[in-house]
């Protein structure tokens, strides 16, 4: 459990990091909080020749309201986001979800940018980003661009990031008075990656819900929306929404939960989260 030898460079700017990635291609990796990467290095599941440390880049640890969005820099740590009043006010979904991620020591170092870039199928942040319909800011050799969450998560550890791209920040829509959020997950132990999880947002429309976005995690190769269930919820039919999950989701079983268990628990979560969406006070 010792990593293979690697060279180490500390990037001072996004441009420098991207240039280094472009120069070394597949042989280089960015390191942010290191909470996923270091374990992979130690188990030699990943053996890059160069680690590009992005922690010294200034301007990536800020949380700020810009226009009609909440901008979260790529290096914002979970703990920082959890304690930020701006996040509690404008992105309460994150405030609900972050306590489910690992344990304090890991949350102190792990970054939101790293989690979204890594796109673990069982991770909380990608699903929240997807449920919020956030935008992801990317810098690459050809400059900066923005990708919508719906177009970002492509498959197992596969995202819209190219080999020389760096994720620089997240842009979340501001929480409004009629917005609703919901979050729940099942994990074997507190802090474990979820067996099944659900992050959701909606807009209150009288007694009902509109703009429902249900993002499941640990139910496929990456965070996925349950579009049939979204429609059924918008139509006010919870039972139909649960039934629609059969067509929306296609998880594979693993050592912690069979496919049957996952599907069953996905339905339980939907009932729970639908309750949160409709009960939430202003």
């Amino acid at each position: 459990m010792k990593p293979a030898t690697f060279a180490y460079a500390r990037a001072q700017s996004v441009a420098e990091a991207v240039a280094a990635l472009a120069a070394h291609g597949d042989e280089a990796r960015l390191i942010a909080g290191g909470q996923s990467l270091v374990a992979m290095l130690n188990m030699r599941l990943s053996a890059p020749r160069l680690l590009i440390d992005i922690n010294a880049i200034s301007g990536l640890s800020e949380i700020a309201v810009e226009g009609d969005g909440l901008r979260i820099g790529a290096l914002v740590r979970y703990t920082q986001a959890l304690r930020a009043p701006l996040v509690a006010r404008h992105a309460p979904l994150l405030t609900r979800a972050i306590p489910h991620i690992a344990h304090a020591a890991i949350r102190n170092r792990g970054t939101l940018g790293g989690s979204v870039a890594f796109a673990d199928p069982a991770a909380e942040m990608p699903a929240c980003i997807l449920a919020l319909g956030a935008d992801i800011a990317i810098s690459g050799p050809d400059g900066a661009r923005v990708v919508a969450a719906d177009d970002f998560f492509l498959g197992l550890y596969e995202t819209a990031l190219g080999p020389a791209d760096m994720l620089t920040g997240l842009n979340l829509p501001l929480h409004g008075p009629d917005r609703r959020v919901g979050f729940a997950e099942f994990a074997r132990r507190h802090g474990d990656y979820a067996m099944v999880g659900l992050a959701a947002t909606a807009t209150a429309r009288g007694a009902g819900l509109g703009d429902v976005r249900l993002a499941y995690f640990s139910m496929g190769p990456c965070a996925v929306r349950a579009r049939g269930a979204e429609q059924a919820l918008e139509a006010g039919d919870l039972d139909a929404a649960v039934a629609a999950l059969e067509a929306d989701l296609d998880p594979t079983g693993d050592i912690h939960a069979s496919r049957d268990t996952k599907m069953h628990l996905a339905g339980v979560l939907l009932r729970r989260v639908a309750g949160q969406l409709s009960e939430q006070p202003q």
Binding site: M1, R188, D192, D260, V268
Partner: protein, 809 residues
Amino acid sequence: MTRDVPSPLTALDRPNSYIGRAVPRPNLARLTEGRGEYVSDLVLPRMVHVVYVRSPHAHARIRAIDAAEAKRAKGVVAVVTGRELAEVCTPWVGVLTHMVGLKSAPQHAMAVDRACWQGEAVVAIVARTRALAEDAAELVEIDYEPLPAVTDMMTALDPQTPVIHPALGDNLAFERNFTGGDPAAAFAAADHVIEADFGFGRHTGVTLEPRAMVADFNAGTGRLTAYLGTQAPHMMQNILSIHLGMSEQQIRVVCKDVGGSFGIKVHVYADEMATAALSKLLKRPVKFVADRLESFLTDIHARDHRLKGRIAVKADGTITAFEIDDVTGIGPYSVYPRTSAVEANQVVNLTGGPYACPNYKARARVVFQNKTVTCQYRAVGHPIATAVTEGLVDLAARRIGMDPVEIRRKNLIRDDAYPCASATGLKFEALSHHAALDKLLAMMDYPKLRAEQAALRTKGIHRGIGFASFIEITNPGAAFYGVGGARISSQDGAVVRMDATGAVTVQTSATEQGQGTEAVIAQVVATALGVPLDIVRVISGDTDQTPYGGGTWASRAAGIGGEAAWQAGKALRANVVAVAGAILQADPDSLDVRGGAVVDAASGRERLSLAELGRIVYFRPDTLPPGFQAELMAVRHYVPRGYPFAFTNGIQASYLEVEDGFVKLLGHWVVEDCGTILNPQLVDEQVRGGVVQGLGGALFEQCVYDAEGQMQNASMADYLVPMACEMPDIQVGHIVSPTADSELGAKGAGEAGTAGAPAAVMNAINDALAPFGATLTEMPFTPDRILSALKQARQRGGADVAAPAGTPA
């Protein structure tokens, strides 16, 4: 036996006694200052590191090894194959003669021409650092011919299953059959016979510090010093000497601090034997520290039993017979030297043990398979025997509509029935099942919990209460290993020495694994001798310095090592008083040692400080009467002789909620009778730690294998150890029935928590799910298993209660 009647004063009731007090552990400050002496941290001059290239196959012939490139790699000192190492280290066979019929095959320190489990070492890479050795390990090319792997223990004995060791004839390592009383007649005459199948997942004993060794062969003296995290230094000294062809005296085993053992570190591991052999070969210190991934594949595993159980009851709740049929898979070899038949043997011995039921039939079969070896881990066999017994008792109670407490009251051996024996012939000196049950019910407020359970059930909240009574083997004499031919000391010793300042040093053969042995030994000696605790220093874990002894296993360190220390302390006190008598010209019988000074026994008045006594003994012996020789060092040994084992008893209760297939533990209660309690805090923490490991096996821990013998979750990310967030409060109470075998009267307490917790949780889950007609008997109780049991119950139409939301359709 201490009940509600006040006990008379005993030899233990010394003035200023530390016995029964939660004194702080003397090693705590050292450990919390980061000054523990763990083998993992040890660095010696010229030390090199070994990494083993391990078989990725569960069973494979080794056709060829190409290590040329690895030998040229940076920092590499040596690359050694199993065949080369076999020249330095002879193979062993893990059998004991009293396990009649037990067989196993010769096992080498590294695979010679065949690997028999995923993780068996095939090539050793020795390099300047661990990282360089790992780099070189990637360069070794091994040509394997995969062989069919035997993985399912239930088919291991089928004629079409390949035999792992053809020379043995079959895959059966050991079989034991037992019949006591007339079980056939009892089953025939029973009003009810209830049957159930039980499963116990394979799990392991994840220690915080992995297995670690620095082997230092000194070519100048011809001596090998093995710094080793072990529970049994003298056993290891003997075994290293046998297989390295050295005299025992030329082997020194040093074991200072150990980061947890739980039975994992009482065995002989091929990796450690190879490390010692490499040091002898290379004539320099070689370090091996198992990393976390290797620990999962090479630390012993435990449990992995499947049983069929039956119980016979009369309509009035009298239990008339138990029957079990146990199969367990132990990997490709019986572990050396304690063997892998012990757990199954214990299951046979202990099932039904708390109950006054003379009719018992048992069969146990121990089979080989191509998985990591299994052997003794905390509470060996007890969690299995307890869960089967208590599971059957609860099923019987439910069948006849009796409260689980009532059926236990009716059948547990009466507290006034001792001495007596079990159906299997285990001798019980004094147990307290009924007193313990009464105390437990009071601690948990049983009627209140039942009322709460009933009220919540009407709201669709499903809680359950489960009990587990059990007996536990502690303080073993020679009956465990010695009679079977193993050179494992069943006796322990202590040397107590007083220096010129009056300070006291104890050398003990009991070992410290982080559980507080040093504290207990110091308390006992300070009390016996009559000195303050802070002038007693304890030395353990060094075969060059300590008395020859057994070490720490089978809940014996305090009960056996503690009694030796007590006797040595008393002997030294007699010597001190004799010297004082000579100095003071007083009758030694009129003197005592109290509070660190020689006092007049009647008045307690100080006569002489120990420092003054020491000064005279060592520097002015000329002033002592002619012919008088002071002896300020005393040695005593102890081994229990009256009973082969000091049985303890205990009872545990679990209160929990089941929702959506998840178990939420709400409360856990334990009443334990471990005889005299030397240090209540250490005993309670042993019990709590043991309960947590039991809960781990019941709910979380399992080594998951696929059909090819590949472990699927060999990392801390996927193997779930119990964590604080999921643990309930654990309340511990005591009944005290000292053993008369020793003066201290202490029995073991280290394993009791683990013995009872899984059964209590199982019974509580089944109590919670009773309205659905679902019964779970296969551990660990995962959400998958709970949900599928509920689903099956629904399909059977077993439930006469509406299923709440959250039951799978």
